[in-house]
């Protein structure tokens, strides 16, 4: 979707605010929010793509105002309600709904480090037609889905060169909306800075994007 999260190329966002010796978490609540989001993800009621999409759905003024973990928290609540893990009344009151069943958490303390070390690979060992090859000139499609996509606006309609085929990966556009993983080839595509930003851009600079087969068309 063409939301404010799709920020590449936006201007007037202000100076980069660098903090020396920045702590991992600035407040304890941030650490707790991080852990709760990760632990709830273990229920596998939503994919990472759906989680990212949910954050993008935060209303734009709120999205820009909120701090990072505030966005995580807001989106988590939306996801949990959407997937019937909690109700809005339970969130607002902080209390269980009467008669609500008690569950058993899928992620226990002893499983955390192994789960972190294993990760959640996004590639899939399935055949898929590769429509493009390394060295080929391509154009990023002029597509404007209202739902989740990982093709930024700044690259749409632009010409680039396929640098590498990374293999077959889960397709976020469908996965985020519960429409299936639809695995397909993922490519590293190089776009010249001048192609993206015009003749004033530096002559030798470039931006590399990782783009799925469905985002591209032959140039």
């Amino acid at each position: 979707m063409n939301g404010v999260h799709d920020m590449g190329g936006m201007q007037d966002m202000g100076p980069i605010q660098y903090e020396e010796n920045e702590p991992v978490f600035h407040e304890r609540w941030e650490a707790r929010a991080y852990a709760v989001v990760r632990a709830m993800g273990a229920w596998r009621k939503w994919s990472i793509d759906a989680a990212r999409y949910q954050r993008e759905l935060i209303p734009p003024a709120e999205y820009l105002r909120m701090s990072y973990y505030e966005r995580w928290l807001a989106a988590l609540i939306d996801l949990m309600i959407k997937t019937n893990l909690v109700t809005r009344a339970e969130i607002d009151s902080g209390n269980l709904a009467p008669g609500a069943p008690k569950s058993v958490p899928p992620l226990t303390a002893d499983q955390v480090l192994p789960a972190i070390a294993r990760g959640a690979p996004a590639n899939r060992d399935v055949p898929a037609v590769a429509h493009f090859t390394a060295g080929q000139q391509v154009r990023a499609r002029n597509m404007n889905p209202v739902t989740h996509t990982r093709l930024p606006r700044y690259a749409r309609g632009k010409y680039g060169t396929v640098v590498r085929d990374y293999g077959v990966f889960v397709f976020p556009d469908t996965n985020a909306s519960g429409l299936g993983e639809r695995p397909q080839h993922l490519y590293s595509v190089r776009f010249a800075a001048r192609e993206l930003w015009g003749p004033e851009a530096a002559a030798h600079d470039s931006v590399y994007l990782d783009l799925w087969d469905a985002y591209l068309e032959p140039a």
């Binding site: 903090e19 991992v24 709760v36 990782d210 783009l211």
Partner: protein
């Protein structure tokens, strides 16, 4: 870490980032939420503590620094790192969440690499830990792709025009780590001493190793 360069924006008063407490103060909401989820049996309290400890104390840029130092001293390792980063990084014991598909991009006299996630905050956790606030914020996310040299200038790094800047926008699950150039005059240093000099910023690409 080196002092901020002149012209680099310093982190301002906490109110810049933490707006005045509202009735829905996040600290209170998180506390209430955590209690609710524990009570419902949806999360395990001890698991939350292990998760936090992992990212506060165990997983951080020191991991990536060791990878870089190893590549500097061992040319064969460097080759493995550039051709199959997952395997090479796993040799040092680092793997997993948000680092399942690693690619290492090397800086040279002719090429300077910079990593960003314009759409959110994608970052190679196993080697760098969790990203700093500036990496996840609008100024960097918006400007890294359109004005990388301006961003680098803000970090105190001016690159000649004939150096090629490559910006890697992490739009998929591939996670990028910059292999910085080894500084001159470090020939006699041990691998451990070299690792101590490698900064997180250099592995994102906004700095060189001093």
């Amino acid at each position: 870490m080196a002092n901020a360069e002149p012209g680099r924006a310093r982190h301002g008063d906490d109110h810049d980032r933490h707006h005045q407490a509202t009735p829905s103060d996040p600290a209170l909401r998180v506390k209430s939420l955590e209690s609710l989820l524990i009570e419902k049996g949806l999360v395990d309290a001890a698991a939350l503590d292990v998760l936090i400890d992992a990212y506060e104390h165990r997983i951080g840029p020191r991991n990536g620094a060791r990878v870089v130092a190893r590549a500097w001293v061992d040319p064969a390792y460097r080759q493995r790192l550039l051709t199959d980063a997952d395997a090479a990084i796993a040799e040092l014991g680092y793997s997993g969440m948000q680092g399942e598909h690693m690619v290492v991009v090397e800086n040279s006299a002719r090429v300077h690499n910079l990593v960003v996630c314009t759409l959110c905050s994608c970052y190679p956790w196993p080697v760098l830990g969790l990203p700093p606030v500036w990496y996840k914020s609008a100024p960097y996310r918006s400007r890294a792709v359109i004005d990388p040299r301006g961003v680098l200038r803000e970090f105190g790094l001016e690159l000649p025009q004939d150096v090629e800047v490559r910006v890697w926008d992490s739009t998929a699950e591939i996670r990028y780590l910059v292999l910085p150039e080894r500084p001159k005059g470090t020939e006699g240093l041990s691998e451990e001493a070299l690792a101590a000099r490698v900064t997180r910023d250099a592995m994102i690409g906004v700095a060189r190793v001093a």
